[in-house]
Every structure is written in C-alpha cells, then in structure tokens.
Amino acid sequence: MSEDYEVEFIDRDERDARFVVRDITPAFANGIRRAIVSDVPTLSIDTVRVIENSSVMFDEQISLRLGLVPLTTPDDYDVGETATLALDVEGPDTAYSGDLVSADDRVEPADDNIPIIDLKYPEGADSPQRLEIEAEAVMDHGKSHAKHQGGVAVGYRHLQRIEVVGDAADWEDEPNILRGVIEDDGELVPTESFDHDLSKRYPGKEVEVHDVPNAFVFSIESDGSLPVSDLVLNAVDSLADRADELEQAVQL
C-alpha cells in the first residue's frame, strides 16, 4: 500500500518556501512538520571559552546570544560533532555575528548582521572594552534546545477551493478576507494576488470556501542553517529511519 504524493511549489527560496502536497494524510503532514522543528539537527554554539570580556554583560549572557546565532550546517556533520569558532572585537565597535571566524569555512553565521554586543571606549578608561572568545558549535536536535531548530516558521494549512453559490445582496460590500492558497480551475492562486479579499476576486458574488481534502499547503521558513529543501528531506529521512528501526526491532 503505497500512496503517490504530488508536490507543487508556489514560492521557492533557500530560506522560505511554500508548496502544496496532495493526497497526504493529516497525520503524515503533521509528522513532517514536527520532524522539521525538532528532529533535524543543526550546528549551534554550545560551549564558550572566554578569553577576555570587559563588556558590560556577563559571560553567560554573551554565550546565550552566541548560541542563538544560526550557523550554516554542512551535511557531513553527525550529531555531537563540533566545530570551532572565534571572535575578537575591541571597542568602540559593535560585535556582530559576522565577526565570528570559523575553523571550518563551511560553518559560518547564516546572517552577518546580528548584533552580539556594543563595545565602548569609556571616557577616562585606560583601554577599550573588548570581547575575545573561542566557541565550540555542536550538532544537535531542536528537541534539546530551540537554538538547534532549523525551521523557524513551519506550518501547513488546507488548500482551499472557492464555490460561487449565487449573487451577493446589493447592500453587502464588506470585504471577505481569506489567507492561504486557493485552487481555481486546477491553478494555484496565493490569496495575496487579490489582496486576501475574496470580494475582489469574485465581485458581487456570494461564495463558499471549502477545504480540498488531503491537500496541504506547507509554508516553511529556515533560519539559514539549512536550505528549506534539505530541512524537508532530512525530516522525512528521520521518520524513515525510525520506521526502519521499528521494523527491525519487531522482527527480532
């Protein structure tokens, strides 16, 4: 018993994508969503060795901020493997995520413009504030800490179909707001194309909105550690691995 799914992309980008999956059951759709959020491992700073921190914040606070910086994650890292990064910034300047220098050039901050801390050269001080650290990034799952979540906004909603049921009464000119993607004559139409307002697409008509059974519009945004397509495929693989493991365990 094997289903044939049908996937069609609406928006596609490294960081942000939207696609329709047809003939998928709600349970499997939710399994994929949950796996993207909690079971796809990514690299994130986990241990910090502070060499000098004369900034106004405690080492622990700086470490938390460093941990939250998304790092690009090469596909040959296993869970528990580490990568070393370093940062050395002297005031008056702001330390940004882009100042992190990595030992592995495939592991780098996904965004360069995340401020870590503003460093000053206080008036009358002998030396400027300085932050110098070395850090270990570790590969781990979103389940153990949210900083390891590769997907930041992962969700799905039903694909919808609009049925014109008659003419609207003359006095009805209220907007009829719908957000998502509708299917019209086999064509996928994102609702932003008509300003999310059905009364603009079907002026003067009374319409009903129906969910298309077992068709879901996934909307997935990545934090930059992995491209969206890798997030999805790794999540599906993690489900597949568990299915294999269970099958073997049952056979024993």
Binding site: E3, R12, R34, D237, L239, V250
Partner: protein, 94 residues
C-alpha cells in the same frame, strides 16, 4: 528504539516504544489503521511533567487471522513507503 511488551494476547498487543514522541507515534498509528486486519490502534503518552510513564504505549487490536506484531511490522513498512514516495515527489518538484 527499545520495545517492551506490556500485554500480549492473540488479538491484542500493548507495547512501549521508548524514546519516541507524537512525531512518529501519530504517523505510525495512522499507518496501523490503514493496515488490513487491524481493528483498533491507539497510543497513549503522558507529558514529561506528569512523572512516571512518559514513553508512549501503543495498543493494537486486530481482527481474526492477523497477529498484532505482524500488523505492526506491516505498518512500519507502510510508513517507510510513505516517506519514500514523499521524497520522490518532493525531489521531482524541487
């Protein structure tokens, strides 16, 4: 994945699946319900804060001629098939 059989009868099986959560259990439950010869399938798990039993316990009731363990094996293979065909469809579109 550690399995611990809690109750095993001819047409009913309760089994603890250690280390899993809703992500996999719900997909598995649904695959079981799609499996021929399965009358009922459900799982129960408690939140971590509850203390005590937190690993999911899967319960399967089968109709005659079907061993619950065989049904579980078929369902696991069914999940694998689903993931394979999803992967194929996704890669074809991407």
């Amino acid at each position: 994945m550690d399995l611990r059989v809690i109750e095993s009868e001819e047409a009913e099986l309760s089994i603890e699946i250690a280390g899993e959560d809703h992500t996999f259990m719900n997909v598995l439950k649904e695959a079981l319900l799609e499996t021929e010869g399965v009358g009922a399938a459900t799982y129960d798990m408690n939140p971590e804060q509850s203390g005590g039993q937190t690993d999911p316990i899967l319960t399967i009731k089968t109709e005659e001629d079907t061993a619950p363990l065989d049904a579980l094996e078929t369902a696991a293979r069914n999940v694998r098939d689903k993931t394979d065909s999803f992967r194929t469809a996704f890669e074809a579109a991407a």
